[in-house]
């Protein structure tokens, strides 16, 4: 793999990663955003796979495969199963911020991400770190999605997107953290999703549906 091919593929992966995040903000149906999350997982896994193949490092390629299986297959399937149990509630009720404004806010967050990550690129100007602003933008967009959605599952998708963004940042700036930490982080993400899934089920049984606006008994 030549260096330009490597840079091009890495940029494509980072670009696709950011694009899926934008599309998750754009679409409102739960099935669609879970599917987009699977695509995002694939774009995320492409980053360590490309890096591993270019550098000939088998450990990084293994991590890439694990990420692919976990984030592009297992987690979306788990979420999809929880979504499947909701029938008429497929469509997100009006989010707190309408779609046009959300998209314009996303544009602002992307620009902010580029500003914030300048010191990182300055410290280590390789092809990989130049794609970090895309990953950072996904982190900011994920926080925005968690804040502006009403359904429990949309918040769960936002949380997984946050996790994906942080993993992407890790892969881009350091070719991943040590394996033990990556494994621990992935397991924690898996458990967190399981917990959220179970909680969503309980919420539906207790409240009737999973609209988070109903959770307002605890307040001062």
């Amino acid at each position: 793999m030549t260096q330009t091919t490597y840079a091009g593929l890495l940029d494509l992966a980072a670009g696709a990663f950011l694009l899926t995040a934008v599309l998750i903000v754009w679409r409102r149906e739960l099935r669609a955003i879970v599917r987009l999350l699977a695509w995002q997982g694939m774009a995320l896994a492409a980053i360590p796979l490309v890096e591993g193949i270019y550098q000939g490092d088998r450990a990084i390629v293994t991590v890439g495969v694990i990420v692919l299986v976990l984030k592009a297959l297992v987690l979306p399937i788990l979420l999809g199963r929880v979504v499947g149990t909701e029938d008429q509630e497929r469509r997100e009720s009006t989010p707190l911020v309408n779609t046009t404004a959300s998209l314009l806010i996303t544009a602002g967050l992307t620009v902010m991400a580029y500003a914030v990550t300048r010191p990182i690129i300055a410290l280590d100007p390789t092809e990989a770190t130049r794609a970090v602003p895309a990953a950072f933008a996904v982190i900011l967009i994920a926080v925005f999605v968690m804040v502006s959605r009403r359904r429990a599952l949309s918040q769960a998708v936002g949380f997984l997107m946050l996790d994906n963004g942080i993993a992407a940042t890790g892969f881009l700036i350091t070719a991943g953290v040590p394996l033990i930490v990556e494994l621990g982080a992935s397991l924690d993400a898996l458990f967190a999703v399981l917990v959220l899934g179970v909680l969503t089920g309980r919420m539906r049984r207790a409240f009737g549906d999973t609209d988070l606006d109903q959770l307002r008994e605890l307040r001062d």
């Binding site: 990182i120 940042t169 700036i173 350091t174 033990i180 930490v181 982080a185 397991l187 959770l215 605890l218």
Partner: protein, 489 residues
């Protein structure tokens, strides 16, 4: 030494395994209590061995220094009290129908896992492993908070999991950025996340990247410690969970998360100078105390009141950490230990009040001292501890914190914090008096205290008195911990 280091982590895991296999019964609950006690005992043994140095074990994955010993003592003490009380508490819940067999089994498994995760968090040498352990505590406590399966409990669990997971994710990003900076300062990739290696390379870390990492770490671990701005889960989670779990979370988990922040602070101070973290901790700490004190005034639910009191104490601890001198760190560790035991005491007593009245409203509870001497006295003692009155240890710790802050030229912050603490003091006294003193309303239910809860309460009172009256080996331990963190005199 390796084995001794692994005991605090493995012993509770063994108890959890036993509980998973056999379900909730006297045997497994007692084994859990023994496991918590073993954490305390092994911590003391390690502490006697290492003195003021640090000891590594298990291929440098684990590290024991004075700070980890201190935190292990907190975990062990409060853990023993809470697990001991759990025996009677859960049996009473089963009898009253608030939970079923499955719920009790889940409780029996998750509490020791929780203890083990906290032990790993304070013993880890690799800050990545420390992060994994703290995230594991969130996952372990999620279903503990929702133990009762009521609607408010579910709401509290959702908020807790979502907010803490977001915070912890930000802390992970900070950890990754720190790893990046450490690699560029020259550390090798296998050890770049080790605490001692980071301390060594700290002066060469790139300032801009470290500043970004420090902000994220402060936000992330601050979320688990209940600091503003990610504090909104605290009152809900601590009030909805069963009393022993509230004791553990309020008394220990917040402090464990804060100890992680203290470790990060020592690295960041070497890289950026003390200014950045001092400002950050001051802002977060003062805002936390402000919000906690304000909300304490309007409380009508006594468990939420206790939760806000925890938040206020964590804010004070953050402000003390901002001062950063050796005296400040030693004082805040004493504060953490005393607060842990006191909070456990008061939460366990509150749990019995909740069991008796089936509600946590302050208005529903009157004349407790007249109705039950045990619960009334322990609740009163707990409140006195939280108010920071002598002869209990929090008086000494708050005095030392004030001296340390004055010494660090933070008099204005001290004044502000003291003012807010007076507000909190007044609120606690008013609510406490309303609940404890006077004659009870006719028709108030009888307060039944299971034996294990009673035992835990009495032990808690004795321990607090002992800690307050005689410092024992603790001052030396706390000062060693402050030195281990690199605090200036």
């Amino acid at each position: 030494m390796n084995i001794l280091l692994m005991v605090p982590i493995l012993a509770p895991l063994v108890a959890a395994l036993l509980a998973a296999l056999l379900g909730w019964r006297r045997l497994t609950a007692s084994v859990t209590v023994l496991a918590a006690l073993s954490v305390l005992v092994s911590a003391s043994a390690i502490g006697l061995r290492i003195g003021s140095g640090a000891q590594f074990g298990v291929w440098r994955v684990l590290r024991a220094d004075a700070l980890s010993i201190t935190m292990l003592i907190v975990i062990g003490t409060v853990g023993t009290l809470a697990t001991w009380a759990s025996v009677g508490y859960i049996n009473a819940e089963l009898a009253q129908g608030h939970t079923n067999r499955k719920g009790a089994n889940l409780y029996g498994v998750l509490v020791p896992v929780f203890l083990s995760a906290m032990a790993l968090a304070v013993l880890a040498n690799n800050i990545g492993v420390m992060w994994v352990a703290i995230e594991a505590t969130t996952v372990a406590t999620a279903f503990l908070v929702g133990h009762r399966r009521t609607r408010p409990a579910l709401e509290a669990t959702w908020k807790y999991v979502v907010i803490c997971s977001v915070g912890i994710a930000l802390a992970f990003l900070g950890t990754v950025l720190l790893y990046f900076a450490s690699l560029h300062a020259g550390a090798s990739s296998e050890t770049a996340l080790d605490f001692d290696v980071l301390l060594h390379y700290a002066p060469q870390l790139d300032p801009a990247v470290t500043r970004l990492a420090a902000g994220l770490l402060l936000l992330g671990y601050g979320a688990k410690a209940g600091l503003v701005p990610f504090h909104t889960w605290l009152a809900d989670a601590h009030s909805q969970s069963p009393a022993p779990v509230s004791a553990l979370m309020s008394g220990v988990l917040l402090s464990v998360a804060f100890s992680a922040l203290l470790r990060m602070k020592s690295i960041i101070d070497l890289a950026l100078g003390t200014g950045f973290m001092r400002t950050g901790l001051l802002i977060a700490g003062l805002l936390t105390v402000l919000i906690a004190a304000s909300l304490l005034v309007v409380q009508t639910d006594f468990k939420r009141m206790l939760a806000y009191s925890s938040m206020e104490n964590m804010g004070l601890v953050a402000v003390a950490a901002a001062a950063g001198t050796e005296l400040a760190i030693a004082a805040l560790l004493l504060h953490v230990l005393a607060h842990g035991i006191g909070k456990a005491l008061v939460f366990l007593a509150a749990g019995q009040l909740q069991a008796a009245h089936d509600s946590t409203a302050i208005g529903d509870v009157t004349g407790v001292l007249a109705r039950s001497r045990l619960i009334g006295t322990s609740f009163a003692v707990g409140l006195v501890i939280l108010l920071g009155l002598p002869p209990f240890a929090m008086f000494a710790s708050e005095l030392s914190i004030s001296r340390a802050m004055a010494g660090a030229h933070l008099e204005w912050a001290l004044g502000l914090a003291l003012l807010l603490m007076v507000v909190a003091f007044a609120a606690l006294v008013r609510n406490g008096a309303r609940m404890l003193l006077g004659s009870p309303d006719p028709g108030s239910p009888a307060i039944v205290v299971p034996r294990s809860v009673g035992g835990a309460l009495v032990t808690g009172v004795i321990l607090s008195l002992a800690l307050g009256l005689a410092a024992g080996p603790f001052p030396l331990l706390f000062h060693n911990a402050a030195t281990a963190l690199g605090a200036p005199r």
